[in-house]
Structure formats: C-alpha cells, structure tokens
Amino acid sequence: MATVDIPSAKLDEHRLQADTVATGSATSVGMALVPSKRLLSEILARELWEKAAAHLVELTEAEFAEAVEAIGAKDNFGLDPGVEASAKQREAYWRALHLEELAIARGCALGRAAAWQRFLAQYREPLTRIAVEMTGALSLGEELADSLYSELFGLVEREGKRLSPLFRYSGRGSLIGWLRAVLAQRRVNQYRKTSRESPLGDDIDPAAPAVETAGLEHVEHLRRSLEGAISTLSPDERFLLSAYYLDARTLQELSGVLRVHEATVSRKLKRATEHVRKELLKALMASGLSRRAAQETLGIDPRDVDINLRKLLQGPEDGTISIKEGRR
C-alpha cells in the first residue's frame, strides 16, 4: 500500500480547499453556489438575524442572510440532490439551524471583535478542557487548543481574504460539537504523525503475506467468498465490524456513536457476523464444496479470516481513498 507522507498542514489545506468549495460563502469560488435568485425573504431574513442576535457580533442582515442562504444551497436544504425544496422546507431548514452560534462563528470568521469576545467568553474554557481531555495531558491539551485558536482567528489569507475554518461551520450541529470535531481531527493528525515513526504498523498485520503464501488450498477461495459476503453488509454493519474487530472499540463506545443501546450494538454485531458466515458458507458450497467441506474451510484458521476481513473492511488498495493513504 502506498504510504506517501503528506504533512498535516498540507492535508488541512487540502481539506480546506474541498470544504471551501462546499461551503462557498467567503470566497469567490463559493459565491457561485449562492443561488442567483434570493430564496430568503427579507422578513424571514430579518427574523433569523434577530433570533441569532447577529447584531451583537457586528453582522449585518445582508451578511447573515448570505450565510444562511449559502448553507441551505450547499445542503439542498437537507433534501436529496435534484429535489427542489419548497418555501416551507427552506424555512424549516433555516429555522432549525443553530443561528446564534452560526452568527458567532461567522462574525469571528469575518474578524469582528465583538464576535471574538463572545466566542472567547463562551468557548475558550470548554475548548481547552476538551483538548486536555483528548490529549490526556494539560500541556499537550493547552498547546492543541492554542494552535487551534490561531487558526480559527484566520491568520491565513488567500487573495486578500481571511480564511478562517469557522467559515466551514454550517450551524446544523452545535458550535462546540464542531470545535470538538476540529480538535479531534488535529489530535488524530498529530498522533498519526508521531506514530508513523514507530516500528509497528497498525493496519496491516505483518503475518498476512505469510498466510497468503502458505499455499492452503481454500484460502484464496475463502478470500473471494469473503469479499462477496462483506459487500452484502449494510454500511452500519461494516462500520460496526471495523470498529469492533479492527479498532477494538467497546460496545459502550459504539453505542455512543450510533446512539443506540449496547444490547442493540451487540445484537447487530452478532447478526452481521452470522450473516457473513452464512454468506461464506453459501458461496463455498456454491463453488462445489460439500457442506462439511465448506464448514471445514471456514474453520481452517480464524486468523486467516481475520486478516482478509481486515483488508476488506479497511478499504481496497487501489488508491480510491487517496488522502487516507497519504496520511498513513
């Protein structure tokens, strides 16, 4: 697998480019996404502006209206692509945004002093606390939080405009949740950078080539069957298998992400593994093996299955996830 080392800053820049295209509110590129026809009525725009208390962060009505319109256009108001949103759907979408937090974020991104004061008053302490919690150390956490502050402040400029990551906050989630995500991304980047220097790879088991070259009769057949079985799983089942078996996440962690009970996670895991096993058995039998031989093939060596599963779940090696490869 290609492991091109791309510095974290460069990766972030890459991300920024993609997201700026998506958000499209602060740059000339993004402005193209704003529909030519104003979808937001003046009355509703004023109402949203007042609800967001945007005047407290020195945002004009026009600026705020432009922001919410761009966000709605980007997401197509939560509808599938190609579906045109009705006026009612658009209004419901806009009203569901975290307007006040969006105003703060947008005000900060535009460099308004009042917005920064509000931001620091509300988020400085929780941001540092989250960073310390993520890093597990006070000094590391404070360093992480401080580095994010400078970035959020928009020191980077392009074509004479500030580029603050806060432009990318859409207001659909909470601002503290967004900040948490940004911190987590930076923390993972940081960790990846340092862990790359460690001798142990965390993705591919070194024993895999040995197994593949072991010359077992049915391993290759098993691999193909496994590919077919995995492909029939739903996305959440694949996510569960990856997180549970590859990342060794606990049921509690999984239940937190999926917002279901641990028992539900356990049932889903069991159902997914049973499904894979059945599909495998079916595929092996379809290839001419008797039921007993197929079962024996399944039980050749559990580690073989695990290795194949790891590869399958972790993604193909054809470079479709190019950035991920670069970050390894």
Binding site: W178, R180, V188, G256, G315
Partner: protein, 467 residues
C-alpha cells in the same frame, strides 16, 4: 455533505459533528457510516469526539431511551395500580384509624444521596423537586428516604395498614413501629382566631436548613413544607431567601455540618380531614423542645435537629393530644401522620361539606352531613368513635365512622327527643344515689332528653335506659 464524499475526501468537522450529534439525514448518515467503515482515521476522530463524559452520557441516554420504550407500557400500568392502591388506602384508612392509636415509633433510614454531578435515576425517590411550594405532597416525596410509619394499635388491629393519604406509595425506607396509646385530656373549644400566626410559621421555617448538605429551598407559601433540592447550585441556594443567604455549596456543607435529621408530615383528624394550626412539639430526652404550627394544609416540617430519640406531641384545640416516639437517624427525614382523636366531653366539630379542614371556631356542632332522614341536624355529640345526631323531627342517628354512614336509633323512649349530650356516668350514679357528684369517675354516657322531660342515657348510643 454529499459533495464532500467524493473519493479521496474525508468528511470535514462540520459533517462529523453533525453525524455525532445526530443532526444528519438518513442519506448523510449512510454515507458517513460507509466512509467510517473504511477509514480508520475518521473512526478515530469520531470516537475521540465522543469523549469520556459524552460517551457515558450518550450511552446513558440511549439506555434510558431504550428502557423507556421497552418498559413504558408496564410502567404505566404499574403506576395506575399504585394509584389505585393508594386510593383504596386513603378511603379505608380514616375509618380504621383509632383515636387512641397515635403513638408511633418511626425508624428512618439514611437516604440515598446522589454523588455531586451524577444525575439521579429517573422515576425513583431521587426525583428532584424543581420548585418548592408546588404542593406539599409532591415536595415531600423528594430526596429523602421516607419512613413509612406503620402502627399497631392496641385498639385497632387494622391500623397497621399503610399510612395516611399524603404519603407516597414509593417511599424508600419502610419502617414498622409500634403504637401504644397515649391520650391526654381533651381540650375545650377553639377560639375564633386563626390558628396559625404567620410570624410563628416563618420563624419555624428558619429551622429548615440543609439536611446532609442539601440546600433547602424556601417555600413561596409559608404554609407549605419546603422542598429540598439535591445538587442545587449556589445560585439556587441564594434564591432561597435571606434566611439561607449564607448557605454554602453542597460539598462545603457536607464537611462543615454534621448530618441532621428532621420530621415531617400532616396532621389529620379521624375522618382524614387536615388539621390546620395544630401545635407540633418535638421534645428530646433532655426536655428541650422545638415547636411548629401546622400550615393551612395540615403540613409541618421540623428539620435541622440532631439525630436521636424524640417525643412528638401534637395538640390542637378540640382534639386529644397525640404523642408518639420517634427515632431520628442521621440525615433522615421521618414522615409521620399524626391522627388527632376528637376531644371528649363537650367538644364538637363542624365538618364542612368539602371536608377540607376542620372548622373549630364554633361552639355548636352542626354537621352538614345529611342524615338518612334528610332533615336538618339539630345537634350532634360524639363520644369516643361514636357520633350521635338528632334531626328536626326528633330522629336519632348513630355513626361509628365519623359521619360517613348513619344508623337510625330505634326509640326506646316515649315522645320526641329534643336534645342530646354527653355526661359523665359518675354524675348519673351520684344523682341516682343522692350522693355528691364527682366522688367517683366513670365512663362518659350519651344522654337525651325527650319533650316530656325524661332523660335517657346510653353507653353506646344504641341501647338506652331511663336515667
């Protein structure tokens, strides 16, 4: 979001936070999960975003939601059953209460205290009182382990049924006690003045301080017992008024103050009607006392007292004294329901139609309870548990359940009964024998006078003999 899921791109922070917070659409969620299944990096970010507290709380919320959905229906039925049982007890209890079975011993268990910051389990006894003064009944069901005082009366075996109407059926500590009879002398009639001076109540409410480090919220109505809020913030404690202005945060209170106890309850009469203005005295072994007057809803609460053995003495004009022994354990709030027996001899009560409270400001007894004859009540007298009423037509009716049901007394006398009363039998015998009255004390008797002037007496109200 979909625009960012082109091959080679990762979801940005906005999309990740939307996913983690559950604000995404089904399509976005599916795309995100498909990406997460393949991208360990983004999985790491997502799990790192959870954080320890958020993970546990999210799991807890998920757990609660799951349990709620799963047990919603049975819980509703169980709650309905409890309400029904409580209703039956409310109905049955007053009739089984004996006026003499008022000595109760309460043993209070230590309440469960939630750790600071840790939410209490919903639906249990740990439910927080969000606002005091909403109702005395609800406020008393809050943080404390409530002692269900069960009495065993010498005169009434069934008085060990559950408690008074206001007690929560889900009380924490269920304690059984023994009741012995201690009935003091009767009191005469009641003055017309309001039985509850406001100043006195407020002074008493000052004693309601923190129990086991919890801030006590003052009641908006002085009459209502204060609710206690666990884990109240310092700002909450400041809201409790100047009496509690010096209230410290929970942790500080825990350290500085020894755990104190309290006693709370409602005073009722035999019919279950609340008795306002009753004096409640808590006397310890050394003889020192604390006193409070029951509020308009009959409730009282004495808190901030050291643990130990106490005598709780309840007195009210027109009622017999109720005395009971209470063992207060540290940090416990004993729930008692003193039932006052009707005073003997000449006392009388007026029961309003709503039976909301006993009106004690009238010397004559006029019951609005309708007699079987549907005629107005001329007079009524009570002796022990029996209530005797005379209607306009001279019909005599006897009730053994404080007026709930009546039985007509067949006249064994000639003429029409014009008045009834209660006298001491010693006086009758003395009169009959020509001796000085008061030389011997005997049992009280009902007495009626006919229009011919003949006097008849009866011990039970049913069997009469000429005097």
């Amino acid at each position: 979001m979909n625009q960012n899921f082109h091959p080679g791109l990762h979801p940005d922070a906005d999309q990740l936070s939307i996913f983690v917070e559950g604000a995404d659409t089904a399509r976005e969620r599916e795309h995100m999960l498909a990406h997460l299944a393949e991208c360990r990096e983004c999985r790491d970010v997502v799990f790192l975003m959870q954080g320890k507290p958020e993970t546990s709380s999210a799991a807890k919320e998920a757990s609660e939601g799951w349990v709620w959905q799963r047990w919603f229906a049975p819980a509703v039925f169980a709650g309905a059953a409890l309400v029904a049982i409580a209703g039956v007890l409310i109905y049955v209890r007053p009739s089984t209460r004996n006026s003499q079975s008022d000595r109760q011993v309460a043993v209070v268990q230590r309440p469960e205290i939630a750790a600071p910051g840790k939410p209490l389990a919903p639906g249990g006894n740990g439910a927080l009182a969000t606002e005091s003064g909403k109702g005395s009944e609800s406020s008393e069901t809050d943080d404390f382990a409530l002692a269900d005082v069960r009495g065993q009366s010498a005169g009434s075996a069934d008085s060990e049924a559950s408690n008074a109407p206001n007690e929560p059926s889900s009380a924490g500590a269920l304690v059984q006690g023994t009741q012995t009879v201690t009935v003091a002398g009767s009191a005469p009639r009641i003055s017309e003045a309001a039985p509850k001076p406001e100043a006195q109540l407020e002074a008493n409410s000052i004693q309601q301080i923190e129990i086991k480090g919890r801030n006590t919220m003052d009641s908006p109505r002085p009459a209502a017992p204060p609710a206690v809020q666990a884990g109240a913030t310092p700002s909450d404690s400041l809201r409790t008024g100047e009496n509690y202005a010096a209230a410290l945060p929970v942790e500080d209170q825990k350290v500085q103050n020894p755990p104190l106890s309290g006693v709370s309850g409602h005073v009722t009469d035999q019919s279950g009607a609340i008795v306002a203005g009753a004096a409640v005295v808590l006397r310890d072994g050394s003889g020192s006392t604390q006193q409070i007057t029951t509020s308009t809803d009959g409730g009282f609460q004495l808190t901030g007292v050291p643990a130990g053995h106490y005598d709780l003495i309840v007195t009210a004009p027109g009622f017999k004294i109720n005395q009971q022994s209470i063992d207060l354990k540290p940090s416990g709030l004993a729930m008692v329901q003193p039932v006052l027996g009707v005073g003997a001899v000449t006392e009388s009560v007026v029961v309003t139609a709503q039976a909301a409270a006993v009106e004690t400001d009238s010397a004559s007894l006029i019951s609005t309870t309708s007699l079987p004859s549907r005629l107005p009540v001329t007079s009524s007298v009570s002796l022990d548990k029996r209530l005797l009423s005379l209607d306009d037509a001279g019909g005599l009716f006897l009730s053994r359940n404080a007026g709930k049901s009546w039985k007509k007394v067949h006249p064994q006398w000639t003429g029409k009964a014009v008045s009834i009363g209660v006298i001491a039998s010693g006086a009758v015998e003395a009169k009959a024998k020509g001796e000085a009255s008061g030389s011997e004390s005997g049992q009280d008797l009902f007495q009626l006078t006919t229009d011919a002037g003949a006097r008849w007496t009866s011990k039970d109200g049913t069997h009469w003999r000429p005097q």
